[in-house]
Amino acid sequence: MARQLVWLKWRLLANGLRTDRQRRWGLPVIAIGLTVIAALGAQFYYDTSRSLDPKAAAEFGIWLSVIGWVGWATLPVLIFPIDETLDPAKFATLPMTRWQMMIGLTGAAMLTPPIIVPVLVILVNLALWTGLIVTPITVISVVLIIGSYVIGGQAFTTAFSMLIKSRRGRDLTMLFVVGLGLVLYGGQAIVANAIGSLGLEGALLAHPASSWAWLLPPGAAQAAITTAARGETLLTAGLLAWSLLSLLALTYVWNRMLNRLITRPEATSTKSASRMKPFTELAGWGPTAVVIRKELRMYLRDPRMRMVWTGGVIFIGILAATLLLGQTQLERLAATPWLVLAAPSAVLFVGLPIALNQFGWERRAASYLFALPITPRQILVGKNAATTIALAIETAILTATLAAITGGWSRVVYMPAILLTAVACQLAVGNLASVLTPLRLPDMGTDVFSQASEHGCLAIASQLISFFLIGLLMVPAAVAFTLVEAFGATRFSLWQVSGVSMIYGAIVYVMALQLASVLLKRRMPEVLDWVRIN
């Protein structure tokens, strides 16, 4: 029975390659790319371990095993939609025991290109730690490490599946992703600072993972290899036993979670979700006005959209912290008042996933919108106005933050003109990209750029080209404001430059809007077909 799940995974993989041309090209490219990266990483692990003091090398191995474990378990689930072949909820009605299901899911989880990463790390372990006693211990340890990776990953997938069964749970996962992003940023900053000040060897010895990582199954298994190399037989046996026990405990927890996932009904809520005023009580009652209002509500209520916009605020916080406290060359920028001028361009990165794929974000509701008697121009203008409002708020926050840090308050007057020009350029390209290359955004998952969908390559190409075009369109305005900054307002009037810049932005926007409206009128069914979620 468990064998059937492995077969299912293989069949779906093979069928996907046979029927989907993008996947047929994409998967081998990903597999080769991953293999190259994993091989380079393994080489780095091997060379670094050989060059380090043995104690530091042992710590290095433990750190890597734990980081690899956490990354293996969480990142694929958080970045991509859940693999349907590994979603336990799909097998709830099959007549198999939970243990059979677990064995099947574990086997199926190994049929994935990223498996090359732990395999190579394990080969390096086997190459690094050799000896009459050490080699068998290493073999046992790597089996436990592989088991930790796969079972940990499956347990996390099950926990995630439980969470996303309800809408509120899906909202929580977004908060989790944002939190994880912050933790990762903080973690890499701490690691970079530690290595920068102490060197790799010093940092490893000053912050030994062995003091706590033995509590985790892969940490204990990795630690057992080094204790075996030091001849500490009793400790080695204890660590291996602990690794095995904690892995079994994790397996038991996974089993219980599977039980709950399979038997618990899908959660719904009838609590009032809206504390906002009803539509009828708000000002503005035309098609464009209600589209703006609808979009702004989505920004606040759709967790993925919220992630896009809160990402901007987090970016501002990180930038401020880096400028004020950073150990990098960036801290010099804290004394450059003109940095305020960069505020709108930074915010443009934030709004990009929404601006470039306006209909993808509609998901299933696109067919509802397109069945209504609203013109393409009204739809686009409504969506653009909502995006402009959100970008204006974020720009205002970033501008104030940068002005406070750099003392560049005098530059704040430039901001409305720069912002409107930049937003006009972004939305001009965004409207055309949204109509010409609409991208399907999966219901589940945390992907905001639609790169986890089958449009993968198209999504990346479209976004790169759009980004280049936005930058290109912004060049004239950026040059004009740079000249004012460089030569002073005596030779170039700020107000003239602001006015010309906004007129330029308006011309670019209106021309693109006209074209996008005509294209959308002609292509509505095609756009619908591209963004449709089955």
Binding site: R167, S272, A273, W285, K294, S367, Y368, F370, L372, P373
Partner: protein, 259 residues
């Protein structure tokens, strides 16, 4: 008695998906005030036909429209005349039921006060008052169907397209919907209706079209249909029309399911 001009029309509608012809040269003319039932087995092309008429799916050949408006030449004018209850749930999951109705009413150009009063009436009629401030993502299947129906009728369109309106709806709500639709057609509105519930089709529809493999094989009133196929009821007539046979022949092992 009927206006000369059809309320809904289609000429030679054809749509292919790869090698499969989903809809093959369908001609349709539904007159104002008709309650038209579009029947067919799964995959017959009913939903595809409706999507092409309302402008959500481009036909490979042929064209369609509502009253004097061609859906593919004057889409906004055509859409102003219709209300659509789609088969799939394509609603805004993050709007509340009340917000969805307001949004739809505003786009259809209803004055704000009128939209508010119609919203309240519809929510009360469909027993959705308590859930009006709950986001649609938290609605049950039946509640979604009801709020989608409310959104389809809030602007009192002269033409209503209903794809499986009774699917997932409880008996009490089904009766309410049935009464609402009957009253609606009495006002002269036209309804195009697809359903697998033959008893409802027989009771509600004034004319029935049966689609098989993408083709409209017959159009007739329920009485004419019964006479044509010599059937006792619409279900029998439908099964005869689509050539359904006793498919369980050869599955004798199912009779021994206990062992």
């Amino acid at each position: 008695m009927h206006d000369e001009r059809p309320a809904v029309w289609a000429k030679g509608l054809t749509r292919r998906f790869g090698n499969k012809v989903a809809v093959n040269g369908v001609d349709l003319a539904v007159m104002p005030g008709e309650f038209y039932g579009l029947l067919g087995p799964n995959g017959a092309g009913k939903t595809t036909t409706i999507k092409m008429i309302v402008g959500l799916l481009r036909p490979d050949e042929g064209t369609a429209g509502v009253e004097e408006f061609n859906t593919w030449k004057s889409p906004t004018d055509a859409k102003r005349r219709i209300g659509v209850l789609p088969e799939e749930f394509n609603l805004y999951e993050r709007l509340t039921g009340a917000e969805l109705l307001d949004f739809t009413a505003a786009i259809h150009g209803l004055p704000k006060a009128q939209a508010g009063s119609r919203r309240e009436e519809l929510l009360a009629l469909l027993d959705l008052e308590d859930a009006s401030r709950t986001v649609i993502g938290d609605y049950s299947r039946g509640m979604r169907k009801k709020v989608a129906l409310a959104a389809a009728v809030i602007h009192a369109p002269p033409v209503l397209f209903l794809d499986e309106p009774f699917e997932g709806v409880d008996a009490i709500s089904a009766r309410l919907i049935r009464q609402l639709l009957q009253r609606y057609t009495e006002s002269g509105a036209t309804i195009i209706f697809s359903s697998h519930v033959m008893e409802l089709v027989e009771r509600l529809c004034t004319r029935i079209g049966i689609m098989v493999a993408g083709e409209l094989i017959i159009e007739a009133s329920p009485d004419q249909l019964l006479a044509h196929y010599g059937a006792k009821n619409v279900e029998d007539a439908f099964l005869t029309a689509v050539g359904a046979s006793d498919a369980t022949q050869g599955l004798e092992w199912l009779a021994n399911s206990s062992g």
